[in-house]
């Protein structure tokens, strides 16, 4: 007479066998890169390579992954987003892609091109990856509806592209700003040493603007024109 515990264990073993058999038959048909695995496991074809090592290595030198055989095997000479297709209802896709593919430990179904390959590090230093997300003709960053990346990764990419442009790694168009000539003599009191006050009987003021300076005629005429209704009739040449 089997105890309830033993029957349960036998059932679990049987169901495991069935599950493993089912997985064995189906795994060969599904391509490796669409396996929805948590972030910590990689898509290495070599089973005994420690997963943690390659990802941390690519974190320090993210550009190495784009030269590796694995990358070329997976993507060839296309962009990483070339073969990705979003799943949505209807003919017109929603104008915003999903907010993020990875929430905590869980990955959503059909993750975006950046999230589905944990070895792709969005970093300002791997210029080859960033260039794939910029249009070659207009220099504008591609819309997320075109590339299929989630909004969080799009923000990361935009920030990385801006940082790369700041560091001079990515070429961009420098807008032409007209140069205006100023007076570069640097002779004004604001940027030179303060002269000592003249002790010669206070004849000359310390700075020229300390005494009354008659403003130019143009300015006087302007002010007269603005307040012409309120000017008193003292001078016969008051502006009207």
């Amino acid at each position: 007479m089997a105890t309830p515990m033993q029957t349960m264990i036998r059932r679990l073993r049987v169901s495991n066998l069935i599950l493993s058999a089912w997985q064995g038959t189906h795994q060969a048909k599904r391509p490796v890169r669409l396996l929805a695995a948590p972030v910590s496991r990689s898509f290495c074809t070599v089973p005994d390579q420690p997963a943690f090592d390659s990802i941390s290595r690519y974190r320090e030198r993210p550009w190495e992954y784009l030269e590796s055989e694995e990358y070329i095997e997976k993507y060839g000479s296309q962009t990483v987003w070339a073969d990705y297709r979003r799943n949505h209802k209807g003919g017109i896709p929603p104008q915003k892609t999903r907010k993020t593919c990875i929430r905590g430990d869980k990955i959503s179904g059909n993750p975006c091109p950046v999230c589905r390959d944990p070895k792709i590090q969005v970093d300002y230093r791997n210029v080859k990856l960033l260039e794939q997300f910029i249009s070659t003709h207009s220099g504008v960053i591609h819309d997320p509806t075109r590339t299929g990346v989630c909004m969080k990764q799009h923000k990361n990419l935009t920030r990385a592209i801006d940082t790369a442009r700041d560091h001079g790694l990515l070429p961009f168009r420098v807008p032409f700003v007209e140069f205006k000539m100023e007076d570069y003599s640097n002779s004004h009191g604001a940027v030179t040493k303060t002269p000592p006050p003249s002790e010669a009987g206070q004849a000359r003021p310390w700075y020229s603007w300390y005494q009354w300076n008659q403003p130019p005629e143009k300015e006087i005429a302007k002010v007269r024109q603005v307040y012409h209704k309120y000017l008193k009739e003292e001078e016969p040449v008051a502006g009207q």
Binding site: S138, D166, H167, Y184, N186, A190
Partner: protein, 309 residues
């Protein structure tokens, strides 16, 4: 001093803003319309087509030449600004009251930025005028200029500049430098110096040839007596008039050198100036002579071809 001056007769060495110097430099810079209006990466629009008569086309070309001349106006080359250190008051009774510096900026609208008073009250009680870096930062904060950032972008650091030079983007970096820094600031001078040195090292003179920075580069090289590479490049591109102008400028700036004296004795013109310079003061004399020889051979071949029917 800004403003145009004739060639001085009082013995002072010629400045960048002298009329004769500016004429020489504009002539050397040239005006390549194809380069000035080359297609750039921008938002794509459908192209516009216009049907024009020959006269209208000539008018449009004239207008384009005017616009290109505006764009090729040279930014000034100024000596480095002297640092400001001027203490206005030492008030020891204010010591310990505050933990931070206070910056007082005069934000009156109608005064030039170099006449603005910017003073700093330190926690120790001293009231002093702001340094040039602090002045630039404050002026940018209250009167932001288009394209200028509050902190200079990291592209102006040495290692990043090297990367930019490898990409052949010297013109871009000089434009960015012009927007970001004042012409007499040490950063501006450092970036320009590095750019000119890199161009001279690799012989990439053509990158700046029809831009507003070519004059500044030639001025720097002539002052530093490093015009050999430039001369070789010009001879290889058959610009003998430009080589003569460069050496004329060199003689104006270094009138007591052997080359200037000999040229003055012989009243040389054109290619003879180059030959005198190669003999006397050139550092890469061998290369310049080789280039001259090659040029003379090709010119004799061409004249022989054109004379024979």
């Amino acid at each position: 001093m800004p403003g145009h001056k004739k060639c001085p007769t009082d013995g002072r060495s010629p400045q960048f803003s002298d009329e004769e110097v500016q004429n020489i430099l504009t002539k050397i810079t040239g005006l390549d319309l194809q380069k000035a209006f080359r297609p750039v990466k921008q938002e794509l629009k459908p192209p516009t087509y216009r049907l024009m008569t020959d006269a209208q086309l000539a008018q449009a070309t004239q207008k384009a030449i005017q616009i290109a001349k505006e764009r090729l106006k040279m930014p000034p080359v100024l000596p480095e600004r002297k640092p400001i250190d001027d203490v206005l008051a030492e008030d020891k009774f204010l010591e310990g009251l505050e933990t931070v510096k206070y910056v007082f900026t005069d934000i009156t609208y109608n005064i030039p930025h170099r006449e603005r008073f910017i003073v700093i009250r330190e926690p120790g009680g001293t009231l002093r005028k702001a340094t040039w870096e602090e002045r630039d930062r404050m002026v940018q904060l209250y009167f932001p200029r288009e394209g200028r950032r509050l902190t200079p972008p990291p592209v102006f650091k040495e290692e990043n500049l090297m990367v930019v030079f490898l990409q052949d983007r010297h013109e871009d970096i000089l434009d960015l430098c012009l927007v970001q820094f004042e012409p007499d600031s040490p950063d501006y001078r450092r970036v320009h110096k590095l750019t000119y040195e890199d161009i001279d090292k690799h012989g990439k003179y053509d990158l700046l040839r029809s831009t507003r920075h070519f004059g500044g580069m030639v001025w720097y090289l002539v002052n530093g007596k490093k015009i050999d590479g430039l001369l070789i490049d010009m001879i290889q591109r058959d610009l003998i008039q430009d080589t003569a102008s460069v050496i004329h400028l060199y003689h104006m700036l270094h009138p007591r050198g052997s080359s200037a004296k000999e040229a003055g004795e012989q009243q040389a013109q054109g290619i003879d100036l180059v030959k005198i310079f190669t003999r006397t003061e050139s550092q890469k004399a061998g290369y310049v002579e080789l280039a001259l020889q090659a040029y003379q051979e090709t010119s004799t071949e061409r004249s022989a071809q054109s004379s024979s029917p």
